[in-house]
């Protein structure tokens, strides 16, 4: 169990670093996929199957595909090469700052006690999650549904190209 944790977390961290350091956005997108997969694995070790699958299904399966869609459609690769890597000092400073951030938060977290509570049967499975979703969180569930619709329509309106050479569709 612990080895699995170490492997997955190492993988996650490495790919996370890869996400921000690759010059080509496609590679960062792919490394993000790897991060997500490793996180999904971690969720499994944390008895959260439902979320692991949701993670893969929505995150890796939908959101990142959207990303790659955008990258492919806008074939950004060419002009990305122009982006010169940020000055060395900026990266060092940022790294330091990140480190400082990490240390600060870690210092906060360090104090937490490590004992794990007894888990109920079917903890984290789809059934229990489903039950919870439709009993306690039903309102939130509906609102998120609405939210997604709104996002859908919003994205559509925003990115819809006003094709001026096509007669306006008569809907």
């Amino acid at each position: 169990m612990t080895i699995l944790f170490y492997i997955l977390s190492a993988l996650a961290v490495l790919s996370a670093v890869a996400v921000i350091s690759f010059r080509q956005p496609v590679y960062s997108a792919l490394s993000l996929v790897v991060t997500l997969f490793s996180l999904a694995g971690l969720y499994l070790t944390l008895h959260a199957e439902f979320l692991a699958i949701i993670q893969i299904l929505t995150y890796a399966g939908a959101i990142l595909i959207l990303f790659i869609f955008i990258i492919m459609l806008l074939n950004l690769n060419k002009d990305e090469l122009k982006e010169q890597t940020p000055a060395l000092w900026r990266r060092i400073v940022l790294a330091l700052l990140g480190g400082f951030l990490f240390a600060g938060l870690w210092w906060g977290v360090k104090k937490l006690s490590g004992d794990s509570a007894k888990l109920t049967e079917g903890f984290g499975s789809i059934a229990s999650s489903g039950k919870l979703l439709f009993t306690e969180y039903v309102l939130a569930f509906e609102i998120s549904g609405i939210l997604l619709t709104v996002a859908l329509i919003g994205a559509l309106v925003l990115a819809k190209r006003r094709l001026n050479y096509l007669p306006e569709e008569k809907n």
Partner: protein, 652 residues
Amino acid sequence: MVLAWIILLPLLGALINGYHALSCRLRQQKVIHGMVNFVGVGLPFVAFLIALSQGIPFILGAEEPIRENLFSWISVGSLHIEAGLYLDRLSTLMVLIITGVGTLIHLYSIGYMKGDSGYAKYFAYLNLFLTSMLILVLGDNLLLLFLGWEGVGLCSYLLIGFWFEDKAKAQAGKKAFIVNRIGDVGFLLGIFALGVLLLPGAGENAVIFNFEYIESQIGLITVSKVFWLSAPFIITLFLFVGATGKSAQIPLYVWLPDAMAGPTPVSALIHAATMVTAGVYMIARMDFLFDVAPETLHIIAIIGASTALFAALIAMVQTDIKKVLAYSTVSQLGYMFLAMGVGAYAYGVFHLMTHAFFKACLFLGSGSVIHAMSGEQDIRKMGGLKKALPITSMTFLIATMTIAGLPPFAAFFSKDHILWKTYSHGHPILWVMGLLAAFGTAFYMFRLYILTFTGKSRVSEEAKAHLHESPFNMTFALIVLAVLSAVAGFLGLPEVLGGHDWIAHWLHLGSNAAEAHGASHSHTMELLLMGVSVAVATFAILLAFVLYRNGLEGPNKRARAMRPLHNLLTNKFYVDEIYDACVVRPIYYLSQSILFTVIDRKLIDEVLVNRSGRFLAWLGSCVSRIQNGFVNRYAFCFLLAFALMLGIWVFN
């Protein structure tokens, strides 16, 4: 209220004439000469009569001075200043001189100023002058005296600059006023010092600046100190500075020669008879204070003597008739101050009286000469006028003999008294200087007389054409003055010559100490000195005759011989130029380039005001540089802030 009328009458005259002058000028009408004459001359004459009526009891030996309290001028807290008038023997003498000579001069100026456009304005100013002189003389306290003092300065400014179209004349007026003003500042400081001393001790309604009150406090004054120096010395020194300013002594005499720019009767009245003598009167009035400050007296004496000598030297080479007379006035004033300096106040006043008569006569004489020569003042273009102007030349001759100090005439007695007193009070050097001054006076006066009236006539043709004797109203004044200057001497006939020196006893000025000191010398010495002075005078006269009998060629040749000395004298020892160089110009430069441009413009305006404004604008712009629209920069700031907060949270 009688005394008040003496002052009010000329004031009334001034107002009437002034109003008349202005309204005529505004309505472009001709000035009614008759009314102006009547008012202008009549009112002063009436004032003279009133003065006489008040004065006679004094002349006949009355002791008790007449006091009149008009109104309370300034009363603040414990300081009370009353506007009061005070007549005693000294002021009667002065008032009589002023009103008497004044009226004569008014009479004279009717003729002199006949064709002038500002005729009424002239008489208004003259009357105003009389008023302020009378206030000066009749005032019972120092403030009123100062009021008159400045009033007189104002009138001299107006009168000197009477013909203001001419730039030089206007500037002469301004110069006179400013130099007087410098003197007046000294005077003011003297008054303040006195005030500081007397105020604390003064009772509830004590009138601290009254002469009697000061006399009563003399004990307190002699003992107390002002600015770590002895009080009487400081106060009298300041008052004397005022006097030098007004009576044109060494440092501040420069305005008198330029003051000749005014009409001649003005010079006669102001710069001969009355105003310049104000300083002498002030010292005479405050004799009790000066007695207590021997050092100041000593200074006064020295300055008096040196001024007399100095002015006499310059007068010897002057070519303008009025300039010669101006310098002679300065030297005669020197004599008066010499008298005051040695403590012989009475004889100073006596000389003042005699001087008023013969100097007025001389000025009026020169006035009629100029009138006849239609404005020509340069004696080198005159000569042999005796035949054309008989009365003027005769009166001029009498006055010249008087001033030279020949025995029967007034000046001999007064000048001799002064010389005797200087010698008898132990100032041999001053006596010598006085003697030399007397020699100089006699020399330049007769030089003037000879060059203008006798000898070859150097008058230009067209001037000779309408050379005429001045009308009666002018010659009348000349005659009266000539007679007076001849007779006045006998008032002060010294004991040595059998007279009982009436004037000195009458005035009994100054403490007896000065008197006692002089008694030791015997009468013979006095006679001896008198003889020496007469000899010196006659020698000077002969010398003048010899030199200038046949015109100017000889003297010019000799002048060229001793060129450096002659140039020095003709340019009045370059005194004006020195003053200008070391006082006027530096102040002008200081204020123009340093004070105004550097401090005012640059230092305060530029640096403090504009520069700070610009600094704020700069500050604003450099802060706005952070908003450079670069999104990542903003994110970076977020991160920084977050890290900071985290740090704070962590560390406490």
